[in-house]
């Protein structure tokens, strides 16, 4: 199976039973269960236990990531110990830096865990070193821009227009695209401003973001729609897939559609488009073998 792009990753506070028990039916492509900022310092133990109990009781159909606490907190390894045997997709690493990424990768390797990593870049240093940081682990499937903490670190004023994070967005996108991983945008924090959400999401998408984190279930549908492929995208993807099938049958190494050479990145993008549109078929798994 190809790696799915997450249009939406919905944050669920780890110590909130009501949100946890409904999280799987809110329509997000992925969930980020939060053990970090959404959990008070005095409730870290309670959140870990609640999340464990939830994930061992229910089979979720949505991919689950857990945002652990950062390496420079007392909870980094306690969180990892508490979640290492859970059936989750991966871990969101806050305050991503070279040392935190190396320590996390080392822990996952030592414990033979197959978790993916999403690197949360939210410091000035992390932003400038993003490409280097994510190359410290082969498990990284995406870089997630955390604009609230980043602008604090930069001394920038956070605004709805988000001009102050345009450089950061572009830098994260460039690093992600250079490595063929996902570029995941910061959440839009005004849960009532749906028009603002649409503008912000479209801006992020136009720059090259592949998906967005959301902090409210009310934002899921809008963001999913904006990151969904258009009818023309889907039709083109189907033509690419048909072209690959024919080329494989004829033993051709390369082929073109509408005068454009079709190579691996285009095929991968087509497969991803079909996945996002719900038109992916299992037989497509064989196309790139």
């Amino acid at each position: 199976m190809i790696q799915m792009n997450y249009r939406t990753l919905l944050f669920i506070p780890g110590n909130n039973p009501g949100m946890l028990q409904n999280s799987d039916i809110l329509g997000a492509d992925g969930l980020i269960i939060d053990l970090e900022d959404a959990v008070a310092l005095t409730e870290k133990d309670a959140a870990r236990t609640l999340v464990r109990e939830y994930l061992t009781t229910f089979d979720t159909t949505t991919d689950v990531f857990i945002r652990i606490n950062p390496l420079d907190s007392p909870y980094f390894y306690e969180d990892l110990e508490a979640i290492k045997d859970l059936d989750i997709k991966g871990i969101v690493l806050p305050k991503a830096g070279i040392e935190p990424m190396e320590k996390l990768d080392e822990y996952l390797n030592e414990n033979n865990l197959e978790f993916d990593i999403i690197a949360l870049v939210e410091t000035a240093l992390g932003l400038e070193l993003a490409l280097d940081i994510v190359q410290r682990s082969k498990r990284v499937i995406g870089i997630f821009l955390g604009a609230e903490d980043l602008t604090l670190d930069l001394g920038a004023k956070r605004t709805k227009e988000s001009k102050e994070i345009q450089y950061a967005r572009s830098r994260i996108i460039a690093a992600s695209k250079a490595l063929g991983i996902q570029a995941i945008d910061t959440p839009f924090t005004d849960t009532d401003d749906i028009e603002g959400l649409k503008i912000d999401t479209q801006n992020a998408k136009n720059l090259g973001m592949t998906g967005k984190t959301v902090i409210s279930p009310r934002h899921v549908d809008e963001v999913n729609t904006l990151f969904s492929p258009s009818k023309a995208d889907i039709e083109y993807a189907l033509r690419v897939v048909e072209g690959v099938k024919v080329a494989n049958e004829k033993g051709l190494g390369a082929f073109s559609i509408e005068g454009k050479m079709i190579d691996k990145p285009i095929i991968l993008r087509a497969l991803n488009t079909l996945k996002l549109s719900g038109q992916y078929k299992e037989e497509y798994d064989e196309l790139l073998k």
């Binding site: 009501g18 609640l50 939830y54 009781t57």
Partner: protein, 96 residues
Amino acid sequence: MGGKVEIKKMATAGTVESNDILIMISKGEGNIEIELESVVEQQYGEEIKKVIHDTLVEEGVSSAKVIAKDKGALDFTIKARVRTCIKRGSGDTNEL
């Protein structure tokens, strides 16, 4: 957990928010005593008490007094709050 776990101090876990349960645990007198206040007490009171009781036993607690204020918590939440409360009350954690 297994073995015998002693509740050494009073501890609480959970909240009185919707879908949650507030558990207060303290030293018992050789048995398990559960006092429950729930929005669904008439329908599910005995079942909630059983989940609390079974979780205590599973964690190795045979003597404790529990006061629970339930706001419609599912079993996974009840179990989690009881487990956290036991850890806090037995001194197995530094947190409150």
